[in-house]
Amino acid sequence: MAISRADIDAILATFEASDWRTIHLKADGVEVTLSKDGGPVATPLATPTAPVSPAPAPSPPPASSTVEPDDGSLAVTAPSLGSFYRAPKPGAPPFTQVGARVAAGDDLCLIEVMKLFTSVKAPHAGVVTAILASDGDLVEHGQPLFRIRPDAQGTP
């Protein structure tokens, strides 16, 4: 059994809710190191560059999250190739913008494939720190679209 996106999300949530400072997990070719200090953690098994470093998986999840080393934000990627739309229809206000708070499951954008629209939802709650594609852009599967900094839950 490979480690899925949901598993990583669950690990993240557990970690965030805990008062642990670091966590290191290694299973099925995936290594996960989490730290609340904001920097890389020196543990013998850890990959020093990125706090979460999934090994190349044979089948990447539809919208994966990887922690950016700089601000602890997670990238939300395109589930398939398609055209990127920030609003539900032309002229309507965008689903979200930089600095906005989102809850898990909130719509972030639409991906259109031959007039068929699929919404991309926030995988976790947090603040949108970057929008990486422009309205109408042709985006590819796996391309980062948003960065969301997760809420720091459970910290005093």
Binding site: P58, L81, S83
Partner: protein, 446 residues
Amino acid sequence: MSRLFVANRGEIACRIIAAAHALGIETVVGVSAADKDSKWARAAGRALVLGPAPARQSYLDGRLLQHAAVASGCTALHPGYGFLSENAAFAQAVADAGLAFCGPTPAQMEAVGDKLAARALARELGVETGQASEALTDPETAALAARALGYPVVTKASAGGGGRGMRIAHAEADLPAALAEARAEAEAAFGDGRIYLEPFVEAARHVEVQAFGLGDGRVITLGTRDCSIQRRYQKLVEEAPAVAVPKAARADMEAAAARLLGAISYRGAGTVEFLWDEARGQYRFLEVNARIQVEHPVTEMIWGIDLVQWQIALAFGRFEPPARLIQRGHAIEVRILAEDEAFRPAPGLISAWTPPAGARVDSGFGAGCRVPPFYDSMVAKLIVAAPTRAIAVARLQAGLADFRVDGIATSIPFLRRITAHDDFITNQLSTRWLEAEVIPAGKDVA
């Protein structure tokens, strides 16, 4: 500037990209996440990641391919072989999106794609189709039909080929199981469980005619190929021309192919397949493959042409039939698969790749490339040409001896064994030969 979308992977994607570039046409290729760093992704002008590795979410998703083609400014699409290449609904959707399709029209695809329909058309045009039943509905009708044809009989799926839906019944007792298995397999593979029966010919050769239709009723035929060396109905060695078949019969098959495809004003590259019954000295029509085929290079080698360039030029309205076409010599192709000696797929990282000098190698892989586990196992085609078959065989043996691949298991050792066999050297072959004479008992587990 003209731009072509390549809706395939592996060696045929590389082949299409090179052919387009040679014609001054730009290329965009749609790839899966697993093929992001592939040779064809790098060779194309632009590579777009369609979706994750599984083909149904990438190479088999017609909507993604169309969207990628239109959004990247392409005006034509080449489907290659396999995947959606013979899917009439996809061809229609591509046309509806305003793109030229490198292949036949959807109506032509439907006319020849269904085997029973193609047989009926062939019969109307006086092409020898041999005996066959109609589509069978129940075991009683099947038993009557099989008795009329005479055992052994073989089941065939009306909706498709590739060996799927094919079962041999040697006696009436075998028939119900053969039918049930064939129907289930055809239903799963094509979503269409219609099955019919044909007499099973023990010692037959698979002979096919390469054709190229101009879409206006004119059809260029480019001789024959012999693809009798098969394992589980999958071709492994192909040669051109089919020198084991008398010239007069080959000429008849070419004329029949031209008549059949001319009658529907067929557009683009297509192959008409026949079964050559050596004992009776008769041929009969099998089916039409409405696309470029894996084995097209052997025809290119003996005619000195580039069929993929022809396909692309035709789609862009630039095709000019050559004033003179001359066939010379003999060519043989072998398919190199990433498989171990028990025919199990062997994906992995290729650490060394040394193809033989002086031979044509069509491949999407090389040293440092990873063969993903999600797709067809073919990693290369080795093609040799020479003035005579004997010299071509010698060159093939030398080429296979020199071809070195490390890191993954390949079928090269198996192909060395095939090509060193006396029956291959003397061309005493049939479609049963490989399984009966070369594959040792107990090894064929896959």
